[in-house]
Symmetry: C2
Subunit: 287 residues, 2 copies
Amino acid sequence: MSQMETAMSQPETAMSQPVIGVFDSGFGGLTVLRSLVERLPQAEFVFLGDTARLPYGSKSQRTIARYAAESARFLVEEQGAEYLVIACNTASALALDAIAAAVSVPVMGVIEPGAEAAAAATRSGRVMVIATEATVASHAYAEACARRGVLGLEKACPLLVPLVEEGWIEHPVTEQVVQIYLRELLAEARNGGGNPDALVLGCTHYPLLRGVLERNVPPGVAVIDSAEATAEQVAAAMSERAAGSGQRPAEPKVRCFATDSVAKFERLGSRFLGHAVGRVELVDLGG
Amino acid sequence: MSQMETAMSQPETAMSQPVIGVFDSGFGGLTVLRSLVERLPQAEFVFLGDTARLPYGSKSQRTIARYAAESARFLVEEQGAEYLVIACNTASALALDAIAAAVSVPVMGVIEPGAEAAAAATRSGRVMVIATEATVASHAYAEACARRGVLGLEKACPLLVPLVEEGWIEHPVTEQVVQIYLRELLAEARNGGGNPDALVLGCTHYPLLRGVLERNVPPGVAVIDSAEATAEQVAAAMSERAAGSGQRPAEPKVRCFATDSVAKFERLGSRFLGHAVGRVELVDLGG
């Protein structure tokens, strides 16, 4: 069952400015929001970062599903989201069905679009996926690739998120860490025979490292951003509405909520979103 | 009010093998347990890592206090701990009073012993403290130093925990990151006038980086391990019991519990404890 197919079906009550809910356990998903705003400037966005309960990666599937469902209901029932984008690889890997069951609007995760884009890009049928430990442990990307006849070789890169959050984007240490991870992943990938020709960014923090990653992959390896791939899928699903919606507003309509650490969200969020996040509202979803 | 004074008072029902509860939000506190086992080989230890709810650092003080109190009650009421060591800098900084109120046994955190050891070591009256963002934001070390007439200069080093967890202990990247952090901290410290002559390891992960840190501090700067300082305080508090307890057992009696991620605990824990952790039991403390 593909969640994308769910998202493809349009609600009958079309409006000129759809409200799109974007959910992440933290604020990394702002990279997905950024891609969405670029492609759907006429839409209204409500972003929720469940910062009080992050990281989801160290929690059980049952707990993640409960947290994600609560967050999804907040966006749909309290904020009026008509579409839901799960801009979090861990939640997409472990809780997409639970979220879809909790709300009555179309739901799209980041993994299927990322795997779809990788499958479209690869000629060798071998793609590399870098992600957090939790996403790799779920093998959600490998499975999504396998459903498309592609071999997905996953590697956990646990230092990349802290490096991004430290702000060491163009930094010699980050360059070295990326080189070490890619060397290990390429060695493993080539060990099995055949050269991979795509690298999927399977974590919403990684688009900030796109420059250093592109410099360090071998020639001919395409860098695939799951955030962009997801935004393209959402935009395609809404293309009819988007085409008929008229003017682009002066600035995107984005409201941001977080369950904790609003100050850190406001401080770091602009790196991910590409412009100031503005005021982040605190929301309490309970324990 | 000093928690150390509480811990110094002996319970009247002395036993030959006291049960010491050791609590951390994760498994970094195993470095404290390791130091305790070395100094109190006759004792019995029960360790709890609240791994399902880590990291405490991104949560509010109220939430941290509730989690820590629940964990403390588990160790005292269900596991029979007669002493409680809070082997977690964040919980020590933000929840020591809440823990002491929740249980009826002496409670000792890691911050006061760390500050005490730093105050004993410094001649210039200026010490540096490296810790996580949450611990630095609490300024608990600076306050504990100030109560002893010492200036504590704190710096958050958010990359060090992930580097330790990645296993990059003696690694050129870690060496560079340490050099960058120490250079920034020393520049700031000297900017105010006078040379600091002690560096406090204000995070239970950092003792694993003691080698690289000692290589990179200027000559004459003492490296102070809060884990060791805490273990010494606990051992001193129990010296009478320890002296009369007789034989050292063949291997330390240590039972470990975690609220989630038992596999990761077992896999990484031995690095912190210095020997195999053994079987880690899963315990559910609720949401």
